[in-house]
Symmetry: D3
Subunit: 184 residues, 6 copies
């Protein structure tokens, strides 16, 4: 059923927000959970303007690519979702209004991130729901970045296509370079 129909029939559109540095299996699990509970959904890439730092190694465009590859791999129909990178304003009080202006209309927010949850709660316009976590300790972007730096098995935490993509763009070398300081 095409997007127009969904809007006409009042079916729900969910917002799912993350930084996705990188997009891992925990994110994919969350997306599936959201996808089962809404007719359409938006994967919003936050802090879109940052890249090439240890905490934010990948650019917005690279993260868009990772997400599309993962959702293709998971067999989720592209007509059901939007991937939207949004620049961070670093002004928390206007953050919800900023998000609302960058993405298509939505009816519900799925998030476990406390600041995102709090800002949407204070705004009062949208229901805010948690996403059940799976292997929260290892399925974390911090853990992935740590393993890449330490030469541990980072690929098992990612969708296969994302692991492959990170290698294609020399992401491992990028992270290790960012980790060097100029003393060594």
């Amino acid at each position: 059923m095409c997007a127009r129909f969904r809007v006409w029939f009042g079916m729900s559109r969910a917002l799912y927000v993350g930084r996705f540095q990188p997009f891992h299996l925990g994110h994919l699990y969350a997306v599936r959970y959201v996808a089962e509970r809404s007719s359409e959904f938006i994967v919003m890439i936050g802090s879109a303007q940052y890249s090439h730092t240890l905490d934010d190694p990948f650019s917005a465009g690279e993260r868009v690519t990772m997400i599309r590859l993962s959702l293709d791999e998971a067999g989720i129909d592209p007509s059901r979702y939007y991937i939207i990178p949004v620049t961070d304003l670093n002004l928390h009080e206007v953050w919800v209004a900023h998000v609302v202006s960058y993405v298509p209309k939505f009816d519900v927010v799925y998030t476990n991130e406390p600041l995102t949850r709090r800002l949407f709660l204070e705004d009062k316009r949208f229901p805010v729901k948690p996403v059940p976590l799976r292997k929260r300790k290892s399925y974390s972007a911090t853990e992935v970045r740590k393993r890449i730096l330490n030469g541990e098995n980072w690929k098992e935490l990612l969708p296969k296509s994302v692991a492959k993509f990170i290698e294609e763009i020399n992401g491992v070398e990028r992270l290790r370079d960012l980790n060097k300081d100029d003393k060594a």
Copy 2:
């Protein structure tokens, strides 16, 4: 064929840039032209941060919605394209680098806009190709906004779903309000 395959087989991905205030039949014609010449394409929404002015009445999220509705209406498969809003930095010398960082990799740029063409030409990394125009005088966003303000037939210039959407969000009333000054 899924997105990963396209990347592996080196098929081309095109970039098509516009402000889309609003997205009209000329834009749709251009998208079809680009879609016929590439395996995947990116519709990049420029000046994403502006809205609620006479020249930029619609928000990024509203423009994302218009484009998805139009491409659905035209029967273009959502697995073939990305819609990415990009904030304008107002720094022309870094504009190409900024665009490159916000969207997936691309191989060719389609544009008739002189500044976009010049900036990509000076960058030298991508071929820049024109899009044949159709009824350039009336298929123009300026003309659409003018007709809305003057109460003329603006709907004939837009995909049906976009005209419907503009009415749903009270876009006509918004434009007329923005046109009032505080003297009247």
Copy 3:
């Protein structure tokens, strides 16, 4: 009655927004109108970051001073109002949220300015009311700036204390300098 009591008793606080370049008798008339209809009110100085241009000659601090002088002159009790300068973000979709975060809570908006009215209307959280205009043609900041440049009688359009203040800070000379171009 002190401010706390007003909040406890649910009395209304109004927001009145302007650029006040400079604050003139029409503004003062509007402030009186608002003051009569609310227990407390906020005079918000918009576009606070601009000064030393032909359209925005006076700094935020100078405008704060003008407004306090005028309201003192009019005998309005300072315990009833707040004067808050607010930097413009130039992002219309987040403007209401930005205003809300910079000023004390309010219940109603008074404005004749079409963009301010539209943005508050689309936000839907506050009633928006007009202010009756008095001698709208001459009681306008544009008219005041024009008269200063042309050497016409600009003082009759301003509260006496504001006219005096503009002379003290050499405002007339400032405006005339800003009006020169480097050809003459």
Copy 4:
């Protein structure tokens, strides 16, 4: 005596700067000290654009409200002071000029904060004076935020009206939410 008279008679106006996250009894003590030594004074709220972080939990508007409530509670006449929130530019060399442009003219600066002191000293235009501290260890905003998070007695460090206000806006819940990380 009205504000104009004060200016004409060359009476002094003092500037007192703080972030006020939140405004506590130490701040109130300092304001009283400044109030006794000047005819008028400005309470400038620095870093006005930040809120909803652990170090800057309260918005500019909330801080304006706290200060007015405290000064009302302390019986300080609102005709003697201005409360002005000022956005931080994060450019130290222009900070003094930025402050000067946002607030009414002043003759003297009261501060214990080393960077504020240094920037005004290098500017050379204003005398910079310290404020005697009282119970500096507990009368500190850092201490207040720590106690709120730890469930200790934070109310004893604040003017009664501020403690009440923080509860009204669910400030305790806000701080605890900001303190959670997404691992728990």
Copy 5:
């Protein structure tokens, strides 16, 4: 005599400000005039961040190059001057402080530009002097850009090395592209 000696002996350093879009013979005449009246001088390139617009076609780096080439051509010793590009903050009240922080210390300002003159006058820290104009009508950057667009003799208004440089970087083609609109 080396720069250190000049500072120790209290010899004067002048500031000369312009946008230099492009640097023409009138600018060179002014630089000579300033050079005769000071031991060292600073050529500050204002609005450094803009390029590739009809009013600001050349980047900061291109303008640095033009000025060095011109002063070499005029035989002015590079040990006597600094060429410093400065980003515009678009905040007039802090502009002087911003300039002061970006360039070496200076004692006197030479300018004919009314806003620059006014801002330095209100700052009160530096004497502001005019530069005698020569053929003001034709020795103007606006005239140069107009002639380039119209195919008239623009080279006669520029130092030879600047005219040559503009051709090397295809500046004529750049300006003409910027002048096209997308209707033609």
Copy 6:
């Protein structure tokens, strides 16, 4: 030989980037190394907008002065180099394009800084070469700032003229003030 000739004859221009907080003997050693390997070179001052923090105590203008004094002291001909302060955009993906737009054309980059190296490597347009280090442990800006704060011998790490200049501008007192916190 004048600058034009160098460009015509295709002689190389090198880019050397640093924050220079402050410029020390290690930097001077690197500049000499670069100067021996190129006909002209650019000393680019990064993070130009920061000053008056413990990590970035000196303004862009002060750093320009330090570098000119040092190169004069070292007898390097000012006609061979440019000193260009460049504001940091904090957007790594556009950083190279931003640098390219602020400085004259260059052919080669000399740097030991890992992020600078990585960004230029990913850009692919310029060869990136290391600079041999001398006494890397003590010839470091971090070490200089530490010694100033601790009252150790910091002058032995700097060119004589820079040590003298830092004293003239009361740099020692500035750093110590910035190191105080408001608890003491």
